[in-house]
């Protein structure tokens, strides 16, 4: 069960203005502000409504397929030769990733607010697919903004969204990737503010999005608490998850933030290397303001946002959720990074010895497991968040391996 936050809790944020330490806040155009207040009120109201929770729990069980299993990766554990490694199988959710948890919550909120038109941005396409799926289920119009570059490297997901009845809008401005898709979604929202609900895919954006998306994703960590009790009779000793914006990581971490015995690791995408092109905002960025919040960002000396690079389209974002930025500042979460090459190697390892094809995003978390787990005793319990499945990434991996997979 969840431990109730105490006054000194790491779980009390944000403050009423959406700040996590110096991060977070609400940095958006005036047109959106009234709607953001309306959304905040609607979310606060929904949180208190047992009927909302009941409906959410029902759909999570019967439509999403929760709880997702926690799987003891015996052969991976043997190969690494240290900690006992468990995988939280978010890849087994309907639509194939953790994204659906948050989208379900936001779509239910949109329905509650009477909004019939849903917009979303997507990088790898998993958030877009989850949004298209829930819009189909509930009969809502769905428009997904996706960078033209990402459409090229994630074509199967674009086809899935089309099949589900969503309209995928290619974004060709800026670097034609996730940050530009988010700019376009914000432009759409400003234009159609009366009719439209913006379903943000990660723990970023203006308050209350970072807190709201986190709350919807906490189902991951809440389940892990119960499942590890059942499997081992105690809490895990360490948690690892990949971080782009950071929603799967926040969902796993948040319920454990006040458990001092639990070590927490977030893994950013180091791309070609931290001294070259990468997407590691904490390792290689500094605090700035973009997309409605203050957080660590990749930028040049004049505050112009730089393009991020990762082999994983889902991590290819020049920022990180503001709560992660704060958890870094206060030292509660250890932020590491894994390169494209390390992620591809981890991808192959899990395929080969566990029969699971991980998303390239999750492969970044897996890439750091050997170096951490090998140093731990055999009774150390480590949980890795397998945030999504990797079918969508086979082309990217094949291209990296010279066509051979």
């Amino acid at each position: 069960m969840n431990v109730s936050p105490t006054p000194n809790s790491f779980r009390n944020g944000p403050d009423e203005r959406g700040h996590f330490g110096m991060h977070g806040g609400r940095f958006v155009a005036e047109t959106l502000m009234p709607l953001i207040h309306e959304l905040e009120a609607a979310y606060n109201d929904a949180k208190k409504d047992p009927a909302f929770k009941r409906e959410m729990t029902h759909h999570l069980k019967h439509y999403v397929g929760r709880p997702s299993p926690i799987y003891f990766a015996e052969r991976l554990t043997e190969e690494i030769g240290g900690a006992k490694i468990y995988l939280k199988r978010e890849d087994l959710n309907h639509t194939g990733a953790h994204k659906v948890n948050n989208v379900l919550g936001q779509i239910m909120l949109a329905r509650r607010m009477g909004k019939k038109r849903i917009i979303a941005e997507t990088g790898a396409g998993m958030h877009g697919v989850a949004t298209a799926t829930l819009c189909a289920k509930f009969g809502l119009e769905c428009i997904v903004y996706m960078g033209a570059v990402d459409i090229e490297r994630q074509r199967p997901n674009m086809m899935r969204m089309n099949a589900l009845g969503a309209k995928v809008v290619p974004v060709t401005s800026g670097s034609s990737t996730l940050k530009d898709a988010m700019n376009e979604a914000l432009r759409d929202w400003v234009t159609n503010v009366g009719s439209t609900f913006y379903c943000i895919g990660t723990v970023a954006g203006p308050h209350p999005y970072p807190a709201m998306v986190r709350d919807f994703q906490c189902v991951i960590g809440d389940e892990v608490r119960v499942q590890m009790q059942e499997a081992e009779g105690r809490l895990p000793d360490s948690l690892i998850a990949c971080i782009g914006g950071g929603s799967n990581a926040m969902g796993l971490f948040h319920p454990f933030l006040d458990d001092a015995s639990v070590e927490i690791y977030g893994v950013e995408a180091a791309g070609h290397g931290l001294d070259k092109l990468h997407a590691a905002s904490i390792a290689g960025g500094r605090p700035g303001v973009l997309h409605g919040n203050r957080t660590y960002l990749l930028m040049d000396k004049d505050g112009q946002i730089e393009e991020a690079h990762s082999i994983s389209a889902g991590l290819d974002y020049p920022g990180i959720g503001p709560e992660h930025a704060w958890l870094h500042d206060v030292g509660r979460v250890n932020f590491l990074s894994a390169t494209d090459d390390e992620a591809v190697e981890a991808f192959q390892q899990l395929c080969r010895i566990e029969g699971i094809i991980p998303a390239l995003e999750s492969a970044h978390a897996l890439a750091k497991v050997p170096e951490i787990a090998a140093k731990k005793p055999k009774d150390h319990l480590m949980v890795v968040n397998l945030s999504g499945r990797g079918d969508k990434d086979l082309d990217s991996v094949a291209a990296r391996l010279g066509g051979k997979i």
């Binding site: 806040g25 155009a29 959106l32 800026g174 400003v190 505050g303 946002i305």
Partner: protein, 276 residues
């Protein structure tokens, strides 16, 4: 204290006409032509100048201004160079107010206190920072007011009577009414709706109200100027500039005049509004 913006708007009110506020992006299409355009604007009929601070991710702007920012950045634009441009302009133009318009991140990275001091010193009169709503007033608005710069806030069709007092609380110089829900340079404003909105805002403040977003022609300008204290034109001027560029985005001898001739026509529209 009285700023150039206050003085200019009071003068125009005495003359019985609205102000023409023209927008250009600093450094577009290149630093030299951009400065030439800036210097030519007052003579062409601009009463106040909004100078865009280029940013990689202008979330509230339409395609014309986005592309304009990209051209400027490609040409090496920085916030420091934008301030230098104002400083140069001020050498031979003392009366026309300059309002810097943009997004917060470049200012935040430059350093708020240093930015305010340098902007004031360069001859900047006011700021419009699109992604700083009143909820974030401590960031820049309050320090700017203290530094003697006007902080001009946007009010929009979604800003209802309940929210309007919060939006107006620390606004100075004038109120910028965004006539559409949308991004710059897209939909055309409805003059009757604008008139109602201006009257509504004036019920809450003594500040002048300027209206922008979607104004393209002398006709549009005339229609808005008959209802408001100012008309802001941006994307149409950027489009005029863009129309002279070659495939690589380079300007030529026609670039400055393409902008100034449209400004002259808009100025005529504005000047004829109340006499019509």
């Amino acid at each position: 204290m009285t700023t150039r913006i206050d003085t200019r708007l009071a003068d125009l009110k005495a003359q019985g006409r609205a102000a023409l506020v023209t927008f250009l992006t600093a450094g577009d299409p290149d630093p030299k032509l951009s400065l030439e355009i800036l210097r030519a604007l007052p003579k062409a009929g601009a009463d106040m100048i909004e100078l865009g601070m280029p940013f990689t991710d202008p979330m509230a702007d339409g395609p014309a201004i986005q592309a304009s920012s990209q051209r400027a950045l490609k040409g090496g634009a920085t916030l420091a160079k934008t301030l230098d441009m104002v400083r140069t302009f001020r050498k031979d133009e003392a009366a026309t107010p300059i309002i810097l318009m943009g997004y917060y991140n470049p200012i935040y990275i430059y350093g708020v206190d240093k930015f305010l001091a340098d902007a004031k010193d360069a001859g900047v009169d006011g700021l419009i920072v699109v992604d700083l709503p009143p909820e974030e007033d401590e960031e820049l608005c309050l320090p700017a007011l203290k530094a003697g710069l006007n902080f001009i806030r946007l009010a929009t069709p979604t800003t209802d009577d309940k929210r309007l007092p919060a939006v107006l609380a620390n606004t100075s110089g004038f109120v910028y009414y965004v006539s559409i829900t949308g991004i710059t340079g897209t939909a055309k404003p409805d003059a009757n709706a604008v008139a109602k909105a201006v009257a509504r805002i004036k019920g809450h403040t003594k500040l002048p109200v300027a209206v922008g977003f979607g104004v393209r022609t002398a006709e549009d300008a005339r229609a808005i100027a008959s209802k408001a204290d100012g008309v802001v034109v941006g994307s149409a001027l950027i489009d005029a500039l863009k129309g002279t560029l070659d495939a690589e985005g380079r300007g030529n001898g026609k670039t400055v005049s393409a902008v100034t001739s449209l400004v002259s026509s808009l100025a005529e529209g504005v000047r004829s509004a109340r006499s019509a």
